[in-house]
Symmetry: C2
Subunit: 203 residues, 2 copies
C-alpha cells in the first residue's frame, strides 16, 4: 500500500493525519502537481480525475477521494475509531464531516481557486464568486466557534475525521491569507490549539 | 423514525430512493421550503444548517446530511447492500459517490443557485460562476457517458448509492433546463433508462 499525494494539498494532509492518528506508516510517493504530473497518462490511469490523494493497494488497484480513503482505512483498522464504533456514532461523524466540508472547506477551496495566480491559466476564474465563498466561509466559521463553546470536538467528546477535515481546511485558509482572528473566535482557537498539539498534525 | 423532506429537493429524493431500494417505509413530513419553514426555530433545532432532508429518530435526535442518512440506513439495514458488503466494495462506492457529487451534482446545484429567480433575494448570485458550473458539469457528464459504455452501473455491476446520487442530479438538471441530449450521450441514456425503470425512481 502506498499513498500518492502532494505535501501542500489539504486533502492529502487530511489522509496523512488520519493515518498518523491510526498509528499507520504508509509510504508516500509525491506527485508533482506544479509540473502537471497528475495529467500524465500514468497518473490518469490511477485516477482519471487528475487529483491527489490516491491510495494504491498491493494488488495495483487504486482508490481516490480522501473521504473514501479514510473510510477504507477505518474499515481495515477500526482502532482508534475516527469515524465511530456504532451506527449512531458513525452517522454523527458523517454529518459533521459533511457540514465542515460542504459548509467551510469547499468555500476555502473556492476562494483559492477563483483568486490564486496558480489557477490563472488552468481555469476560468470568477473573483466575485470567491467573494461569495469568503462570506459563506466566515459565516460558517463563526457558527463553529459557537459550537466549540460547548463541545471539545465537533462530535462532542469524540475526536473524529470531521475534526481532521476542519483542521486541514482552517490551516489551508491561513496559508492562502484567510486566517481567522483568535480574539474573534476564542473557542475555535482553543479547539485548534488542541488539534495542533497532537503529533498527527505534523503529518 | 420519520423523514423531514421536500418533494422537489434533489437530496431529499436521494434519501427517498435509497429507502425505497431497501424496502423501507419511513413516514415523511413535508417541510415548506418556499414558505421558509426551514429557517424557523423549531426546524433549526433539528438542523441548524436549515436544510432538508433530516431523519428524526424515535429518541428525538436528528440526523442531517443526505449522505450521512444513507450510511446510517445501510448500517441498520445492510440488505440489499447499496454501499457494500466488504471494505473494498464500500471504498469503491464512496469514491464513486464523491466523484458524482463533487464533479457533477455540485455543478448542477451551482448552476441552479446562481441563476434561478428563486434565489434572487436569498443570496448573492454570480451568473458567470453558473457558466463555469455548466461547463464543468457537461465535461463530467461526457466522461461518465464513456464510463457507462463498459459498466452497467458506476461501480461496475453493483447498483450503489452513487447511482442514486447521479440519478437525482441528472433529473434535477433536466428540471432546471439543463437536460442532456440522448444522441450525444447514448450510454448515459441506457443507464438512465435502467435506473428510471426501477420502482424506487418514483419515490
Amino acid at each position: 500500500m502506498k499513498l500518492l499525494d502532494a505535501k501542500m494539498a489539504p486533502n492529502s494532509r487530511r489522509v496523512r493525519i488520519f493515518l498518523a492518528e491510526k498509528g499507520l506508516n504508509v509510504p508516500v510517493q509525491a506527485v508533482a502537481l506544479a509540473q502537471g504530473e497528475q495529467h500524465e497518462p500514468e497518473f490518469l490511469a490511477k485516477n482519471p480525475m487528475a487529483q491527489v490523494p490516491v491510495l494504491e493497494l498491493d494488488d495495483g488497484s487504486c482508490l481516490a477521494e480522501s473521504a473514501a480513503i479514510c473510510e477504507y482505512i477505518e474499515d481495515l483498522h477500526p482502532q482508534p475509531p475516527l469515524i465511530g464504533e456504532t451506527a449512531a456514532q458513525r452517522a454523527e461523524t458523517h454529518m459533521w464531516d459533511r457540514r465542515v466540508e460542504l459548509g467551510f472547506f469547499d468555500h476555502v477551496l473556492g476562494t483559492f481557486r477563483h483568486t490564486s495566480p496558480y489557477f490563472h491559466k488552468k481555469m476560468r476564474q470568477v473573483p466575485e464568486y470567491a467573494e461569495c465563498c469568503r462570506e459563506a466561509g466566515w459565516k460558517r466559521l463563526a457558527w463553529l466557534d459557537g459550537h466549540f463553546a460547548d463541545n471539545t470536538y465537533l462530535a462532542g467528546d469524540r475526536l473524529t475525521v470531521a475534526d481532521i477535515t476542519l483542521l486541514c481546511a482552517v490551516d489551508f485558509a491561513t496559508v492562502i491569507g484567510e486566517g481567522y482572528d483568535e480574539q474573534e473566535f476564542p473557542n475555535l482557537t482553543r479547539w485548534h490549539a488542541d488539534m495542533t498539539a497532537r503529533p498527527s498534525s505534523q503529518a
